[in-house]
């Protein structure tokens, strides 16, 4: 009787641990394709047919259609360059270099992944509509209060920035270094 009980514990206990650990692994994005550069993170093999099994499972559960290699590449920022969570109660400047790409766009979402409605009807910028300095540099100001220059309104709460590179060599075996991505500098907090 004790023997049967032990076998049942091993089978059901093992199955429960195995299923729960698989669920946790997928929820916490443990796949090895998550790479960080500065404030930005990116999934280097997200669109590949040969992505690792965890990345394939995460993709199958999410239903998203990632930009394909040869089409574009997406970088996500949830923190500033000092590693502090992005929050609209603070003002930020997004400036510096961007990886090689024919075009790019920077879009702001709330933490639930939704675009944020605002009076300025501004949810992002493309690389062609920014003001540039004499050296071609840009600075996008992000915050919930009106700011001079290229202002991207944020909600007075946590938010996420997505930098999409269109027509870029990134993603086809070309990696991104922290020097190649824009810095997200916290300016002041309310």
């Amino acid at each position: 009787m004790l023997r049967i009980l032990s076998i049942l514990v091993v089978l059901f206990g093992g199955a429960a641990v195995g299923l729960r650990s698989a669920e946790l692994a997928l929820d916490r994005n443990v796949s090895g394709d998550l790479v960080r550069a500065g404030a930005w993170e990116m999934r280097v093999s997200e669109s590949l047919v040969s992505a690792d099994p965890y990345a394939q499972a995460e993709r199958a559960r999410s239903g998203v259609i990632p930009l394909a290699s040869g089409e574009g590449f997406t970088l996500t920022a949830r923190h500033d360059s000092q590693g502090r969570r992005l929050n609209g109660r603070c003002a930020y400047s997004v400036s510096g270099a961007t990886p090689a790409a024919r075009f790019w766009s920077l879009t702001l979402f709330d933490e639930g992944g939704h675009l944020v409605a605002n009076a300025a009807q501004r949810q992002g910028f493309t690389s062609t509509e920014l003001s540039r300095d004499a050296k071609g540099g840009f600075a996008i100001n992000v915050g919930s209060q009106v700011m001079p220059g290229d202002w991207l309104p944020a909600p007075p709460a946590g938010f996420v920035l997505l930098l999409r590179l269109y027509d870029t060599p990134i993603g086809t075996g070309v990696s991104v270094t922290p020097e190649q991505v824009p810095a997200i500098t916290r300016l002041a907090c309310a």
């Binding site: 514990v9 997928l26 590949l48 047919v49 075009f103 992944g113 999409r164 269109y166 027509d167």
Partner: protein, 187 residues
Amino acid sequence: MRLMGKLAEAVRLLACLFLVAISVHIVSVLSVPSLSHADAFSLVSRLGPELRLLPLDGHETLLDGMEDPDIAASVCSFDLAAGPVKLTLPAGADGFSSIALHQEGGGAFFALSNSAAEKGRIEVVALTPAQAADRAADDDPDNPSGEVRAVSSRTRGFAVFRALALFPSQRQAAKALIAGARCQHVE
């Protein structure tokens, strides 16, 4: 001695439990892509019939997780079992537009942007390896077709057409461009 025996039995049970857990973990992760009904191919297939161009208005979260408001996009699903499929997007070299081909089970097997546009369009023929071999055998070496071919290891898949509006005022034009895309079977 009796205590040692019980300890050994407990260790044996724990090791078995660990092995069962690892096996279940691996099988679960590997089986998610084939069992999921929330993957991109399943979602696109449910939007409409094969080869019909379907704008992604209202379904933008299908794209890369969070919609880019400056991107207009449409999709069509296809089944190569009925023959090769030609995907066409009328697009000049200005701005950004693209065709990406994804296969059932996940992953893009081909993508082309308008930097490779010719004669005012981007065009690609999706085929199975067998169809690609047949087509290559029919090619005239003295008069190459110039056709762009993308070989998929799976018969079913879908195409995504994207166009970027460089300015908010160009969003309608980007949608109009995407609406001109075509998905059709070819001989």
